[in-house]
């Protein structure tokens, strides 16, 4: 193992349970004599050493010492004490004051007030507020995917499994999910890392997406939206004080969850500017100079990238991603790749490359060592199911002890919402050709099945045909058009490949 292995980037915390008299301080970690909840184990132990005796070593302080830092009582004019609040902006956790979240900030709050005024009949120069402040597809009118909602309805009220109005594949999916839930109900808690079979399905999805790069389901954590995973990882990363306080590199512009989380954690925000003139691309020299500057006053440990970009819409090129990975490797930075918009790539010539795939294609020098967390969610793309708060993160090359701490940390919030987990399962495991819901699903995506067929043929064999849907065909039938003009010998090779592809395609999707 090379010297700069994961443990040195994310130091495993040592535990000390200091029993200062009858006060318990916990600094986290594995050796916990009080026997608190350990990752993945759902039985609860209670503190086993109850010692009612008082220590004599704690000096009893006077009332004034106890009130240090708290607002004092004031004597009013008529001689009555008025009680100042316990929790004021002076006594509050000071880092909270630095938290700002523009997406829900003053403008949005005023927008909600204006909406209320409009409902009450107040006259304005407009009749409605159009909220385009947040990436909320359904609020803008995008329709949910029927298949997803059918399965979720069946999971919610399994008596509907007896109804004819639902297709068989939706029922099968619902039954599979329910079988994986405690008591066969989406109302039961799941394991804090998420339902096993969903994590396995997510792992398979990631492998397919990344052209076969292996994914271990144990490295997959289902989360309450991607935000939950991002904040959890930041919490693991941030420590130290003064000049050794953790710095986290974030792009400017950025999605303000990052700055808000860093402010609340008291971490040092290290900005690197995206290049607006070059379509908001990442600039290696900017990363280098930002890092060098940051090292003078903090301990930069992580580099966050949002790709595709939010708010910029930039899709980073493969070369850029390689450069960033090499940079992170050289500078010993933990990479956080926020890839929630990975299915929202529209521009010609643009393609989404996952950080994980590129990492593995750079070879073992990088793929064995660079620590990476990548995030995805059900809130964006064609799903747009923001309200379900479904998401996952995959951690790669994380130190085993740190990963144990991660599992402990996620257990504090018990588990992500089960409907969100179920939805994630459907997203990574959408209806396949041959299944009853496949056609309507593809139509909802704006993609005809024969388009899918021709695209796959092109990707796998290089043969370019035209899908029949471009010409019009009877409903439920599919065709393609190919020319017979090339020389016979060439056509023989081409058709042999088409035959082989067709057999494989039929087998794969039947």
């Amino acid at each position: 193992m090379s010297a700069w292995r994961i443990g040195q980037i994310l130091p495993s915390r040592s535990v000390s349970v200091l029993k200062g008299g009858n006060v318990w301080f916990f600094r986290g970690g594995a050796q916990d004599p009080a026997g608190y909840l350990v990752s993945g184990v759902r039985s609860m132990l209670i503190p086993s050493q109850l010692s009612p005796s008082l220590p004599q070593s704690i000096a009893l302080s006077g009332v004034s010492e106890r009130r240090r830092g708290l607002a004092q009582e004031k004597m009013t004019e008529n001689g009555v004490f008025s009680r100042d609040k316990v929790l004021t902006i002076d006594t509050m956790n000071p880092t909270v004051k630095n938290v700002e979240y523009a997406v829900r900030g003053p403008i949005v709050q005023r927008a909600m007030q204006i909406e209320k005024e409009l409902r009450e009949g107040v006259k304005k120069p407009f009749t409605e507020v159009i909220k385009a402040n947040i990436g909320d597809a359904h609020a803008m009118g995008q329709q949910p995917i029927t298949f997803f909602r059918q399965v979720l309805a069946l999971c919610s009220y399994p008596e509907l499994l007896n109804e004819n109005m639902f297709p068989e594949d939706a029922k099968n999916r619902a039954q599979r999910i329910l079988q994986a839930c405690g008591g066969g109900s989406v109302g039961a808690y799941s394991a804090s890392q998420g339902i096993d079979c969903v994590r396995q399905d997510v792992a398979r999805y990631i492998e397919r997406r990344d052209g076969g790069v292996p994914c271990d389901p144990d490295n997959v954590y289902l989360t309450t939206g991607a935000s939950d995973g991002i904040v959890t990882m930041l919490k693991l990363l941030v420590c130290g004080e003064g000049a050794s306080r953790t710095g986290v590199m974030i792009s400017i512009p950025q999605y303000p969850l990052y700055s808000a989380a860093l402010a609340e954690l008291g971490a040092v925000q290290v900005n690197y500017y995206l290049n607006e003139e070059k379509c908001w691309s990442m600039d290696l020299s900017e990363l280098e100079s930002s890092l060098a500057e940051a090292r003078k006053h903090c301990n930069p440990k992580a580099l966050c990238i949002i790709n595709p970009g939010n708010p910029t819409g930039q899709v980073q090129s493969r070369q850029c991603i390689e450069d960033v990975i090499r940079f992170a490797a050289k500078e010993r930075l933990f990479l956080m790749a926020d890839e929630v918009y990975q299915d929202n790539v529209y521009a010609e010539g643009c393609q989404f490359h996952s950080f994980k795939k590129v990492l593995f294609e750079l070879g073992p020098e990088y793929s064995d060592n660079v620590e990476l967390a990548s995030f995805h969610s059900t809130s964006k793309c064609y799903m747009g199911e923001c309200g379900f708060r479904g998401g996952y993160m995959e951690v790669i090359n994380m130190d085993a002890e740190v990963q144990a701490q991660l599992s402990k940390l996620v257990s504090v919030r018990l588990c992500p919402p089960i409907p969100g987990q179920a939805l994630m399962d459907l997203v990574v495991n959408s209806p396949q050709p041959g299944e009853p819901s496949h056609i309507t699903f593809m139509k909802a995506l704006g993609q005809a099945p024969d388009m899918f067929y021709c695209m796959k043929l092109l990707e796998e064999t290089g043969i370019c045909l035209v899908p029949g849907s471009g010409f019009g065909q009877k409903d439920g039938t599919y065709h393609f058009r190919m020319t017979i003009l090339p020389p016979t010998e060439k056509l023989k090779i081409l058709l042999a490949k088409v035959k082989e592809f067709h057999q494989k395609f039929t087998q794969q999707y039947s």
Binding site: G20, S43, L70, L87, G187, A188, Y189, G387, F388
Partner: protein, 383 residues
């Protein structure tokens, strides 16, 4: 051999069925085509329609405002007000979150000062839920333990609170008192008199009260009655009713709903400094919003079918059946355990757990002689 897990307060895992009305409304909200079909009762369809109209774009897949869907916040505040015999409740002081655990964490984030010379301390019962302790741990706060009185059925004694607070002086800056009522894991339900004493203590010692009341619907012990801290505070009159800062937590995970997996919880913040409330809003906003499924569950908890509604007979029968089972279990489980030599179990008044004590014979043991284990009362079958 099957594993029988009775360690969690998870009714559905244990075999309790979800409430039909709740699941029908949920299904109709997920798949609105059901509203047009003849598969569901009229009141279910009406409720689903109202809820869908309250969602942006008419979809439960949209984000909601930070505290939650306004319609639902109103339902919840009305529920609180009815529960408390008319004590006013404002939707603006209520935030729905992904389970009550998340609300607890966010309130702690406001309170726990991680840059002060002394760590922030929170008075916490022993025994207490390990999740809360882990939360304090993760924030770098100090647990200031106060011991519940087992001989008195795990009651809170104010003298013990005073002792614990005194012991923390110079070690940490204790700013809050965390109470769970009905108790977890103890099953104790506090009397009104006890609640008044605790409130007075918090007022005298200038402590922020965090009251976890998620088991408020599960009170079946004879002579026991749940009364909320907010109600008692209000009835104590000014100045206390206007000044004692209180956060009270509830959830759709317990009670008759038992919808743990939907992640619906809320906190009602009482008497907080308005400037702090603005920061609280920003902090809660960083989650964007609670899962809509959880918000829906809270609405259905706050606003169940009423007599005369088409769904009421089934709802009444289901809740009465759950209640009867829990009352039965609450009585015979402690009695059964008490009849085992070496085990003693306090009577259970409410909640979902018993917390019996076990005595082991004198042997070289790795574990100490006293330790507790938690069983989930509602899931232990009769035999």
């Amino acid at each position: 051999m099957d594993v029988i897990d009775v360690s969690w307060g998870d009714p559905h895992e244990g075999g309790v069925k979800p409430l039909t009305f709740v699941r029908q409304v949920l299904a109709a909200c997920m798949y609105p085509e059901l509203v047009e079909s003849d598969k569901l009762p009229v009141d279910v369809k009406q409720r689903a329609q109202s809820l869908l109209s309250a969602c942006d774009g008419g979809s439960v897949g949209s984000y909601t405002p930070t505290g939650g869907i306004s319609y639902i916040l109103c339902s919840v505040s009305n529920f609180i007000s009815r529960r408390d015999g008319g004590v006013p409740s404002s939707p603006e002081n209520i935030f729905m979150t992904s389970g009550s655990q998340r609300s607890l964490m966010l309130v702690l984030k406001l309170l726990v000062h991680n840059q002060a010379s002394l760590p922030t301390g929170v008075l916490t019962a022993v025994p207490a839920s390990s999740f809360f302790i882990m939360m304090l741990q993760s924030l770098g706060a100090a647990v200031v333990p106060y011991y519940l009185d087992e001989e008195q059925g795990w009651a809170i004694e104010v003298e013990e609170l005073r002792r614990a607070l005194q012991a923390s002086k110079g070690v940490c800056n204790t700013v809050a008192l965390y109470v769970i009522n009905p108790g977890n894991p103890t099953g104790h339900v506090q009397s009104r008199k006890c609640i008044e004493k605790v409130i007075r203590f918090a007022a005298e010692e200038r402590l922020f009260l965090m009251v976890d009341e998620v088991y408020q619907e599960s009170v079946f012990g004879e002579g026991s009655e749940f009364v909320s801290y907010k109600k008692v505070l209000s009835e104590m009159g000014p100045p206390l009713s206007h000044t004692v800062e209180l956060a009270s937590f509830h959830s759709a995970s317990k009670g008759f709903m038992g919808e743990c997996g939907l992640r619906g919880g809320y906190v009602e913040l009482v008497n907080l400094d308005p400037a702090v409330m603005r920061y609280a809003y920003t902090l809660f906003s960083t989650d964007i919003c609670a899962p809509v499924t959880g918000q829906l569950a809270l609405e259905l908890m706050a606003n169940p079918p009423r007599p005369g509604d088409p769904s009421y007979p089934v709802y009444a029968q289901e809740t009465q059946s759950i209640r009867a089972m829990l009352v039965h279990n609450m009585n015979w489980v402690p009695e059964f355990l008490n009849n085992i030599p070496g085990i003693s179990c306090q009577p259970m008044m409410g909640g979902a757990f018993v917390f019996p004590g076990c005595i082991y014979p004198k042997q070289p043991l790795r574990r100490p002689r006293w330790w507790g284990c938690s069983l989930t009362c509602g899931t232990v079958n009769s035999y």
